[in-house]
Symmetry: C2
Subunit: 504 residues, 2 copies
């Protein structure tokens, strides 16, 4: 079955891809998804790299309860305002047989004294523990992460982008000084950038959010904003410098080196299965999924073309020196914060019920970076056909050549995808100085324009153009330091050239 | 702080260990635990090995929803009977401000049409998906696992042994034939045995449960039963051959090779954070935790003894060739179902505020298998002191000797712990033929005795001796095939010599 093309309908194409590449599907529980094995294998690869990066930067994993007592959620005013409107509430702890034996009902006698909220996020329950663990500057910094499921009762759900239950990591770090906490928040957005570029093969704009777009209660929110193929920006990962707000709300104090009591400084940051949306919407083409080799569950598929069982045996014994070697082959992906040595994964597709054409199509759709095709008739010549999904190129080579080249080929594909993604963003990025030009260009991608720093101007632009300020970008995106800093709408002095884009 | 000894009080000792070795603690949510970084690092090591074993035996991971619609739970009669009495029930999806502004309350208008149960286990929601995915024998076998949190509203909770929320893996496999499903259940209990012996370093009795001890609805339940140091048996892992019961309850049929409709055969199996209880109760000694090196978060601690910063620098530069080498050192643990190549993890404890004695004690308590101590005065002699926590031996050696020996040393400790655990079980295992002897020996460990196969006899023994039948053991535990098979209580013909023990 063909998938809808990008030109026809992005939204339909996304649904087709998720379904036909066997990534995930809806479930019988409203808004909750089932992540299927192929989709979950990609998520595991994402998780493993990030986990390694976190550990390499001195962080540790832990696990905190799924449930939050209602009173905890209410300790921080902004926090409860943000999450109370969409949460799953546990009120009872037992079912019983209905009196008329019609089925099973909630037992009214098993009502909880205090309702429990299924965690929409874990700040409140984690800081309840931190309060017990922190008393002196010697207990700091405390750098913990958890990988867990969270629940937000979203009204309009979309697989991977916005689902009632999703998987994620959330870090909560506690520090003795404001500077150290802010540095941590900045470092961790750099980890997300590194992960995006080196593993996800996407090239996000990195920056900090304007005040009106920050996480509730944050002093700074840092963000990575990759461009999707429909020219929208995705808030793919954020890291928050939260000051002392939660420290005060939960009364977490420590004795500093001068023996004075101080509130703890903290940060939080997280990414989720939303990265799957990022992956799909950033890379895939009209023929199916496109996965960077670092995250692909299968690196290589071997398709022998044969009529009889004897033919197949002959092909397999010809390939044996290659397959033996491949089983000992590791591919090393590396970046600033992680080095991943991944065992090469391969699949021999010798199914006798499916045609070669069907097999090619399936692996192209699900994106296996490399494919070997081998015909019985080519055994004498000693060559195999190597197909690269990223470029659609077919090359003949010997099995010795192939086994010596496979690591380079996969690393080259990884680089190529990043390069393509970066070029795509750059080709669709505009620097404009007039609001008229802005209105035109904002339909065509990312726009860097001057802004006076007021929420009013931001709102006006949002109302009129359906675009928001994604971030104050890092300096590297600001190309001319000598230009005039004037807001394009209000003509007041500008705070900075900021990134505007449409988003989800 | 010293921990309670085994001779004094096992139960208090367990609590001391969990607390002082920083593994886990209770939370503000009744019955839910916080798994602290050191405990979670051990759990991650357990999970990684098991996950590798599952993948090596052809299984895949996936993820299914946290919530189970109430009506799903009721589809299988035994299932709902088992789980309805202790489950967390979600009834609402929103909070709102109280009308008197006294706080936040459940919004009565946000009542769910059908209550959702936080999964106590996932059979019902997973089989709801299987029904969509399975139509032909070509879709089988379907071999899926998920790692997830589950909730059972236990009244009496204990950290790791029995908590309201716990972490686990649960497999649900679907097969075309009864034989294949039963073989799968047997193979997976062998995976648990392999994991126990080769990684957990425990030597469980493996067998199958008598009918009255099976999982609700199972045709066979296979089990591993390791002996804890208090001479009790722990049901550490089970695997169930479930026949067609759930296939029928959920109406999951497939077309077989003869084009006939048939119900699917299935199995399920799982282990949980209860393995942490297994680990602690099987190995630890009066001085603290004892961890097999394959699961230990830190393999080596280096304690330099120094007075000045210059001394420390001198020691560090002397050690540099060693530490450089150690950073490139991998330890390979292997077994029937997995090979784990683990990077050596080490910690340099150069804290200036803590005394060497304090450092020694902390690492002995938390069990770091190897420790190097080095004094400034010994630099000239070029030797370091290597301490092995498992044997309390100290040996002098050069850094070259140590770096060439460290892998062997760790693998030897791994073997030693298994050997100790196996000997302990064997020393406390009895073969008895009279009920009088049984009553004496059952206080002292595992007892193999003949049983007539009736629930009545089993109940009588349970009432009188507080011991249950743990399993029909594998043949290897039945030492004499020629003996008379007579029940020790009823004097009727015996079904088999079975394993009796006390348990939790």
């Amino acid at each position: 079955m063909a998938i809808t093309t990008r030109a026809e309908d992005y939204s339909a194409r996304y649904n087709d891809l998720v379904q036909q590449a066997d990534l995930a599907e809806g479930s019988s529980v409203r808004g909750c998804m089932v992540i299927k094995p192929y989709g979950y294998a990609i998520w595991e690869n994402i998780r493993d790299v990030l986990d390694q990066m976190f550990k390499n930067t001195g962080h540790q994993n832990a696990y905190f309860p799924l449930f939050i007592p209602k009173s905890f959620l209410c300790k921080e005013a902004d926090h409860v305002k943000w999450f109370a409107k969409e949460c799953a509430v546990v009120t009872h702890y037992r079912l019983k047989n209905a009196e008329d034996w019609s089925g099973v009902v909630v037992d009214p006698e098993a009502k909880l004294e205090e309702e429990l909220i299924v965690r929409p996020t874990s700040e409140t329950i984690i800081w309840d523990s931190y309060k017990k663990w922190i008393s002196s500057y010697r207990d700091l910094p405390l750098l913990l992460n958890q990988w867990a499921n969270v629940v937000r009762w979203e009204m309009r759900t979309r697989i991977f982008l916005r689902s009632a239950e999703f998987l994620r990591q959330e870090w909560h770090t506690a520090h003795a000084t404001s500077e150290e906490a802010n540095e941590e928040a900045k470092k961790m957005i750099d980890v997300y950038r590194d992960f995006s570029e080196s593993y996800l093969a996407t090239s996000p704009v990195v920056g900090r959010k304007p005040a009106h777009e920050r996480f509730a209660g944050a002093l700074e929110t840092y963000t990575i904003e990759p461009m999707m193929q429909d020219l929208k920006s995705l808030q793919a990962g954020t890291s928050h410098f939260l000051g002392q707000n939660f420290g005060k709300a939960f009364d977490v104090q420590f004795t500093n080196e001068n023996n004075e009591l101080e509130y703890v400084w903290w940060t939080s940051w997280g990414v989720s299965t939303r990265l799957m949306w990022n992956l799909i919407m950033a890379h895939s083409d009209d023929q199916g999924l496109v996965l960077p080799p670092a995250l692909a569950p299968i690196h290589l598929v071997i398709v022998p073309i044969f009529k009889t069982a004897e033919d197949l045996e002959e092909i397999k014994s010809f390939l044996k020196p290659l397959t033996d070697k491949l089983d000992q082959t590791y591919i090393t992906f590396s970046s600033k914060y992680a080095e991943m040595r991944k065992k090469l994964t391969r699949k021999m597709d010798d199914d006798t019920q499916k045609t070669p054409g069907w097999k090619f199509h399936e692996r192209e759709m699900k994106w296996v970076p490399l494919r070997i095709t081998i015909w019985k008739r080519d055994l004498e010549a000693g060559k195999i056909e190597v197909f690269t999904r990223a470029t659609w190129e077919k090359v003949q080579m010997t099995i010795e050549e192939f086994s010596s080249k496979i690591e380079t080929m996969l690393l080259d594909i990884q680089k190529l995808l990043l390069q393509k993604n970066k070029s795509f963003r750059e080709e669709h990025t505009y620097y404009v100085d007039s609001y008229d030009e802005f209105k035109e260009k904002i339909e065509q991608g990312f726009v860097f324009a001057h802004w006076d720093g007021t929420a009013e101007t931001a709102e006006k632009i949002q109302d009129e153009c359906k675009a928001t300020i994604r971030c104050f970008p890092n300096w590297e995106y600001i190309r001319d330091a000598n230009e005039k800093w004037v807001d394009m709408v209000s003509w007041k002095d500008s705070e900075c050239r900021v990134l505007f884009a449409k988003s989800y």
